[in-house]
Structures are given as structure tokens and as C-alpha cells.
């Protein structure tokens, strides 16, 4: 139930006074409530949870984390196989 799914906002509209949007999950589209991320723009990535966006995904942070983890993985390959000389 806490497994939010990241999706891309492709359209926003208002319904019964609530900010809503259409979110694309890699081809599958669903309507979601955007009331909790009111500054969301079309093109932003959000985490959707039971039909509500609960957070925006920060592109900058995502890339920074990946760069860091790639660095760890690269160091490993440079060091060669675990356990030293086979």
C-alpha cells in the first residue's frame, strides 16, 4: 500500500475544486489528484500513491545518486574480482 509508483504528469485540470492530472506510467495512463504537489508542471515526474501524487521526483537528486552509485560500481571493476588474485 506504500508502494508509490513514479509517473510523468502529461496534463492537469480541475475537478470539483481539486487539482487533478493525467499521469503516464510508461504507457499506462491514470488520473491522479495533484492537490498535495500544487506546483507540479506538465512534464514533471511524481510518485503516485492510491491515486494521489505525494511527492515530486527530483531529477537533479536522481542523477546525483546514480552518479555516486556508478562511481562505487566503477571502483569495484577497477579493483578487479573480490578476494584478490585467483
Amino acid at each position: 500500500m506504500c508502494l508509490g509508483v513514479p509517473g510523468k504528469v502529461i496534463e492537469t485540470h480541475e475537478e470539483n475544486g481539486l487539482l487533478m492530472g493525467t499521469v503516464d506510467f510508461g504507457g499506462v495512463q491514470r488520473e491522479a489528484c495533484l492537490e498535495y504537489v500544487p506546483d507540479t508542471q506538465v512534464g514533471d515526474y511524481v510518485i503516485i500513491h492510491v491515486g494521489f501524487a505525494i511527492s515530486k521526483v527530483s531529477e537533479e537528486e536522481a542523477q546525483e545518486t546514480l552518479a555516486l552509485l556508478r562511481e562505487i560500481a566503477d571502483i569495484e571493476s577497477e579493483l578487479g574480482p573480490e578476494g584478490g588474485v585467483v
Binding site: M1, P6, P38, I54, S55
Partner: protein, 364 residues
């Protein structure tokens, strides 16, 4: 898809795992709080790829599992009423109450419907003015903002035929309960990423300090979890007690302010019973008096029910990290997803369900 495939990159996961192997020097017990993380770990086999010094124990973060049986019995009684359309997240339908579940109520003619979002339940109420629509508002801090919004929305639309059966629980009091137990063996925590997306993690430094345990906010993909474990292991090995964030692309320290504000407008703190664990003080949310008319417990006179738990089920100990699913002699024998003895066997976030689904239970 972007932001998903990158975090499932096996090469990157392996790189982080190697770094964990190189960092660890002695045994550590780490709890992942969230049942969604448990499923990701067991499905990917991450726990079996970790060095043997590191044991992952599974936490109480399965909302369906900790919803008290008394409330499930109330749900069953309300859902059986002819004027009611009872709505729920899908996971809840197979959870055993005292001898039956919501599916059996539906089979007996009750109008029980699965909704994806609580706003769908509000729409049902608008479309069926002659019916009483009840939503089973369970969950942690992640479902509280949607559930709160449904009440505000029903109020704004003047829907007097909508109500919620509330069983909200909060993570920090559960962490206190686990760490404060004389039987506790948790030395570090992976905090639940999406709970923190809503609430932030400003509440955690005081918990880390009080019990001397590092806490790292962690996401849900195998790479996120490996990264969270690496951060916790680095802190444990270095004797550092701190709060880290391994899910910074989604979680900020402050969390989602508009969501926190609406939760505070609709709910207030209360003691809450957790299934299999018992009452944890101040661990839940209930509707504020201003929204009392939307409380299904007040709207429907449900007589006191004496619940009956299976005497074989050890779910309570599993949810506190004291035991693991394979410690249970009933798993896969008397207890299966088709015939569950406890909620941990049916929920998509239940630890027993994860072990059963991903082939960890030895077949007879």
C-alpha cells in the same frame, strides 16, 4: 521507464553489494520497516546476496497486517448491512477477521467494492445518494493524506452518505515500541521512503539518539535498498548514530507540508491497537471532533465483538522483528494465501506472503 529502470540496474546493485561486503566486519541486524521493501528484498533475493554478517528483519510496515481484528470484524458487520456500499483498498478483502473476510461478505450478497483511490469512494457516494458509502480508511502516513482528502471533499460536496472506518497508524511510535522492547535486536533501520515523503524525517534524529541506532530513509527498488543498507552498515561500523537519506530524489527532511497540514486538519493523535502487537500509545490517528459525522463507527451501531485470533499465528512477533516467517511451523502447511491464519499471509506487504510467493517456504 525513466526513474525505474535505472534503479533496477543489476550491475549497479552488484557494485553496492560488493562495497557492503568490503565494509562489514561483524554481525548486524537491520530492520526494514516497510512491507513494500520486504517484498522488494525477497523478490529480488537481495537478502541472500548480502554478506552473512547482515541479517534483515522485517518490520511492522504492513497496514493491512496491523489493522486490529476488532476493526475488521466491525468492517464485516457494516459491510453486511443492506443499505451499505462498503469500499476498501483491494488488499483488505482477504484479510481474515474472526472466521471470515470481506470476500465472504460479498459472496453472501454484501455490496463490497475495491477502489483504487478514496476519491473513487466519494464519487460512489455522489452517484448513489440512496446508499451509505463507507470507506475502510486504513494505513500509515502514506494513505492518510488521500483518506483525509476524501473526508474534506465529501464535506465540501455536502455528501452526508459518506463515512470512513478509520484505522490509521504512524511509524515513529512503532519504532519506539520496537527499540524500547527488552527483546529488541534491531541495530539499524531502513526507514520507509514513502512515509517519509509525506512526513519528512525530522522526527527521526531524536529516535536515533535515544536508542543509539542509525536510521536511513530508503526507497523501494533493489538499488535503493542496497544503497540504504550500505549507508546503515557504514554508520554501524563507524560507530556513528545519525539519520541519513538514501532516497533524496523523492524525500526531503521537511516532507510534504500541504499533506501534513490536511492530516492535521482532519485527524488527531490517539492510542491504537496493532494486530498481534497490542496497544501502542499515541500511535494512531482518528477523526477530529469537527469531522465526527463522517465516522462510520459512530454512524453504524456495531455491537461489541469478541474477536477470535488463530492460536497458531505468530504474525505479531514477525511484525516486531522478533521472529521471521520461516520460524512459523504453520507456514505453507496450515497457513497459505488460500487459507490464511493471519494477515501477514495475504497482504501484498505481508512478510509471510513474500516468503510464500517467492519460493522461500520449503515444500513438503
Amino acid at each position: 521507464m525513466k526513474h525505474l529502470s535505472e534503479y533496477r540496474d543489476a550491475g549497479l546493485v552488484e557494485g553496492v553489494l560488493k562495497e557492503i561486503r568490503r565494509t562489514v566486519t561483524r554481525p548486524w541486524t537491520i530492520m526494514e520497516i516497510c512491507g513494500g521493501q520486504t517484498h522488494s528484498i525477497v523478490r529480488s533475493g537481495l537478502d541472500q546476496l548480502l554478506p552473512e554478517e547482515i541479517e534483515l528483519v522485517h518490520g511492522p510496515g504492513c497496514p493491512v497486517c496491523v489493522t486490529p481484528i476488532e476493526l475488521i470484524d466491525k468492517a464485516l458487520a457494516i459491510a453486511s448491512r443492506p443499505e451499505v456500499i462498503f469500499t476498501s483498498y483491494g488488499d483488505m478483502l482477504r484479510v481474515p477477521g474472526s472466521g471470515r473476510d470481506l470476500f465472504s461478505v460479498r459472496a453472501a450478497g454484501g455490496d463490497v467494492r475495491v477502489v483504487y483511490s478514496p476519491l473513487d469512494a466519494v464519487k460512489l457516494a455522489a452517484a448513489n445518494p440512496e446508499k451509505q458509502v463507507v470507506f475502510f480508511a486504513i494505513g500509515f502516513e502514506t494513505t492518510a493524506p488521500p483518506n483525509a482528502m476524501s473526508v474534506v471533499q465529501a464535506n465540501a460536496l455536502g455528501l452526508r452518505n459518506y463515512s470512513v472506518l478509520v484505522s490509521h497508524v504512524r511509524v515513529p511510535p512503532a519504532m519506539h515500541a520496537i527499540l524500547g522492547s527488552p527483546h529488541n535486536r534491531v541495530q539499524g533501520f531502513l526507514a520507509a521512503g514513502h512515509v517519509c515523503a509525506v512526513m519528512g524525517y525530522w522526527e527521526y534524529p531524536s529516535i536515533a539518539e535515544k536508542y543509539g541506532v542509525p536510521i536511513v530513509v530508503t526507497g523501494f527498488e533493489p538499488l535503493d535498498i542496497a544503497q540504504g543498507i550500505l549507508q546503515v552498515v557504514r554508520m554501524l561500523e563507524g560507530g556513528e548514530v545519525a539519520v541519513g537519506n538514501a532516497y533524496a530524489r523523492v524525500v526531503t527532511e521537511a516532507g510534504n507540508k500541504p499533506a501534513q497540514e490536511l492530516i492535521g486538519r482532519v485527524f488527531e493523535n490517539c492510542d491504537r491497537k496493532w494486530r498481534g502487537i497490542g496497544v501502542i500509545p499515541d500511535s494512531g490517528w482518528k477523526l477530529r471532533p469537527e469531522f465526527a459525522e463522517f465516522d462510520a463507527e459512530g454512524r453504524f451501531d456495531v455491537a461489541a465483538i469478541t474477536p477470535q485470533e488463530s492460536p497458531l499465528c505468530i504474525a505479531g512477533e514477525i511484525l516486531q522483528g522478533l521472529k521471521k516467517p520461516l520460524d512459523c511451523p504453520a507456514i505453507g502447511v496450515q497457513c497459505t494465501p488460500e487459507h490464511p491464519l493471519g494477515a501477514t499471509m495475504v497482504s501484498a506487504e505481508g512478510a509471510c506472503a513474500a516468503y510464500y510467493r517467492y519460493g522461500r517456504v520449503p515444500l513438503e
